[in-house]
């Protein structure tokens, strides 16, 4: 149905009209218990999804229960009142649905995908586990094994995972972003049933959630089902605020990881940067694209193509509630030392600080953002996940339609300024992963 509208709008002004049309298509409502539900009707396929965003992630943990947010994500599938152990998945799949979930430093997100005529059972399944999760000791024990395997397989197969844990641990000494989302193994081994029950009561309250439903559904039907299944779930006291502020870093920090099977050095830089709602977020996000997104980016062009110091190089800026890190990652080419690669990266960063970027580079990023916006709109999952993320990280789902305008206002001077402000030596942690032992001459 939207298709015709889009075509017409394209004849005039693509951006604004499409955005307006899309934004108008979205409807949200809030239940009395504080749960907000956003509906994005899209009838292109006879399917829909439900994305439940919970404002809880590893930042809500403390030593002793690190990783519990992610573990909890697993436990949400292990049995409630009406639907006991295994039933959530069995009933969902028998109705043509599938699900997954993911946990980040800030959020836990549950995703259900289903033929649109199975929507009611999805509501029922979700309501049952939100209100009446029943955690039993046996499921807890077997799930510890599953999560231990998830943790190990990440470390076994990904150098990034291994080095990332160490870098975060060094870059943050106070804030809970210090540990990985999957947590310390000793905490996975030891948290108690009571820890989990407390966690559920505190964080899985309807007033701590934002729900997006996208696909072949109607607002009317979603309202009816939300009132029937979600409205009776009682609200809870809001969780305690995370008030820890990471103290300013005063000098470069370094970590080293020896992994004998590594075939060349891997290097990670992490610079402290502000949270997503800070005014510098867009210039920083655009800087990540300029530096490390694609073959035409600064790092790829210089280090991979021209100097051949790396086989790959990229940047990463997570969306974040609290101040977090701006990452640069590169894998050394054969016989290139980590020192040489590190100098190469620093030199590219310094070029932006001292010489700035060109208007054309900036325009490229703006164009790319516009096209990526449409790539997101091409799937119901892209829509649901992105709208929910904007709501949580930017304070409003509507911001998704405003992002390209915000970027349009960013200047080459802004990019240079944020590079100068944040990409400083004293503000960074550098992690190196390599095969050789960490021994220098004169050391034992």
């Amino acid at each position: 149905m939207k298709k015709t509208l889009l075509l017409i709008s394209c004849l005039f002004c693509l951006n604004s009209l499409l955005a307006a049309t899309e934004l108008d298509d979205l409807k949200s409502f809030t239940l009395k218990n504080g749960m907000t539900i956003l509906v994005a009707e899209d009838h292109s396929i006879p399917n829909a999804n439900m994305y439940l965003f919970w404002k809880v992630g590893s930042r809500n943990e403390y030593p002793g229960i690190t990783g519990i947010s992610h573990f909890f994500e697993h436990m949400m599938f292990n049995g409630a009142k009406k639907y006991g152990p295994k039933q959530f998945d069995r009933v969902m799949e028998a109705n043509g649905g599938a699900n997954n979930a993911y946990t980040t430093e800030n959020t836990t997100v549950y995703t259900d995908w289903f033929p649109s005529d199975s929507m009611e059972i999805m509501f029922e399944l979700e309501a049952d586990r939100i209100q009446h999760l029943a955690i039993d000791q046996k499921m807890l024990d077997s799930e510890r094994g599953v999560v231990t395997s998830e943790r190990s397989t990440g470390l076994e197969n990904s150098n990034f995972r291994m080095i990332w844990e160490e870098v975060k641990g060094s870059a943050f000494r106070a804030h809970p972003y210090s540990w990985s989302v999957i947590g310390h193994q000793s905490d996975i081994d030891n948290w108690s049933l009571q820890d989990l029950k407390d966690y559920h009561r505190t964080y899985y309250a309807p007033n701590n959630a934002f729900v997006v439903i996208a696909g072949d559904v109607t607002l009317k039907e979603v309202k009816r089902l939300a009132n029937k299944y979600f409205a009776p779930i009682p609200a809870q006291q809001p969780p305690r605020k995370v008030h820890t502020v990471e103290p300013e870093q005063k000098g470069e920090r370094r970590v080293y990881v020896q992994k004998p099977s590594a075939t060349s050095a891997n290097i990670m830089f992490a610079y402290h940067v502000p949270e997503t709602q800070h005014e510098d977020y867009y210039p920083l996000a655009m800087l990540t694209t300029i530096l490390g997104d694609g073959n035409s980016s600064r790092l790829s062009r210089a280090l991979v193509d021209e100097q051949q110091l790396a086989t790959s190089a990229f940047t990463y800026l997570p969306e974040s509630f609290d101040p977090n890190l701006f990452y640069i990652y590169a894998v050394a080419a054969k016989d290139i030392s980590s020192d040489t690669l590190e100098k190469g990266i620093i030199s590219e960063v310094n070029k932006i600080i001292t010489e700035g970027i060109s208007q054309k580079e900036l325009d490229k990023v703006k164009n790319k953002a516009q096209v990526d916006f449409y790539r997101t709109l091409a799937t119901i999952n892209g829509k649901a996940n992105t709208l929910g993320s904007y709501e949580l990280y930017f304070g409003s789902y509507a911001e998704m339609f405003n992002a390209t305008n915000k970027m349009a206002a960013v200047t080459v001077e802004d990019i240079q300024r944020v590079a100068k402000t944040y990409l400083r030596r004293a503000n960074r942690t550098v992690g190196v992963l390599d095969a050789k032992a960490d021994v220098l001459e004169g050391d034992l």
């Binding site: 889009l6 069995r90 799949e93 599938a98 395997s149």
Partner: protein, 458 residues
Amino acid sequence: MKSLTHIIFSILIILFIGSTSVNAAFKIPKYETYTLENGLQVYLMQQSEVPMVNVSLVVKSGAMHDGKLFGLANLTGEALQFGSGKLSKTEIEDQLAFLGAEINSNTSTEMSFLNISFMTKDTDIIFPLFSDIALKPSFDETEFSKFKKRFLAQLEQRKESPRGIIGDAFARLYFGEHPYGNPVSGNDKTVSKIALSDVKSFYKNYYTPKNSALIVVGDFNKKSWIKSIEKQFSQWQGDAPKEKLMPLNSSPNQSNVLLINKGDAIETTFLIGGKGISANHPDAVAVQVINTILGGRFTSWLNDELRVNSGLTYGARSNFNSYQYGGNFTISTFTKTASTFEALDLATKTYMRIWEKGIDQETLSSAKAYVKGRFPPRYETSGQLASLLARMWSLSLDDSYINSFETNVDSLDIEKANEIARRLFPKDNLQYVLVGKADDIRENAKTYGKLKEVEIKD
């Protein structure tokens, strides 16, 4: 994450599956197809949800055509982007990136794709550029050497990850010398031997209009595209390559165990498998439903036993890799070194349920609903629809491939399901690949079949 879902071993699901939703029958969107005078098959499918276009040039050339130079088809696909017409590699990259267009070369065992996605408004700039990349590659010598050097390093890096190498190892173990066992990316020994002249001659032999299809899906003006395609592609000349495919060997007549040592491994990653089916096998839909029950979804037998009941692993699944004339089947999972054989035995025991206990009605009904419900999202984007058309073209499948899927799923009853399961899933002489710390698992591994041990870095 709760589960790895579809990405467990990177080789997986080239397949299809699915059917329509429970309510309305899902049909393939309307499209047109015609042949240019030079033999190039053209597909046009309009999808106007977003103002973008996806173009794919699909060539029936893949790793199976590599000869002894494994990796040649893949390298040829990559080499298309090393410069074309009047533009250098970096000029192409800059022009495309400036417009937010994304291009990629993608090679599999049987096919090669050159895909691009871009904004409809940029068509007049992008499509001629794309055509030049496809038809007038300059195969720049310097870019080729640089890429080859980097790619060799990446092949080495891949050996850091059991998951990165295990699929190729199994394919070689199962298919033996047959070209279906050729590793798509090649290996360090073969790639180092590939010269630019090999790439040029591979391109000349296989990248011909009679061996290719051009697929356009998205929001576009049909009339002007038909004209542009005529303008850009009608001069392209060349015949379809003549080739004979080596007949598939009969399945191995004994169990083999390939043990790949990774000295610092903390877990064992393994595949168990055997004979599969061809892509257009008459029972392919039924096999897909049955595999869903065995290892194709979260509540599958394998995941339920190895993950949910025992906590041995984060995930266990099974897959069919199907090609035009044959295929293989694998069960895949991983577990900490100490529980290697507990997991291996449990996987085998669970698999044997096909013959020992069989499938029950409730599970079959659930799996049928599942594959039908998961079907439409596989064909949601222009890129997905382009892949679908490419598959239909290469395997000469008609619209019933999509439109009759639901009927095919529905017609599978419990007797037929059990009969097909027992007949088409491999039972004897299973093949094993284990990647882990050999010193800790070697002795026990020997009891599963004839053992061969190699180093992961070999």
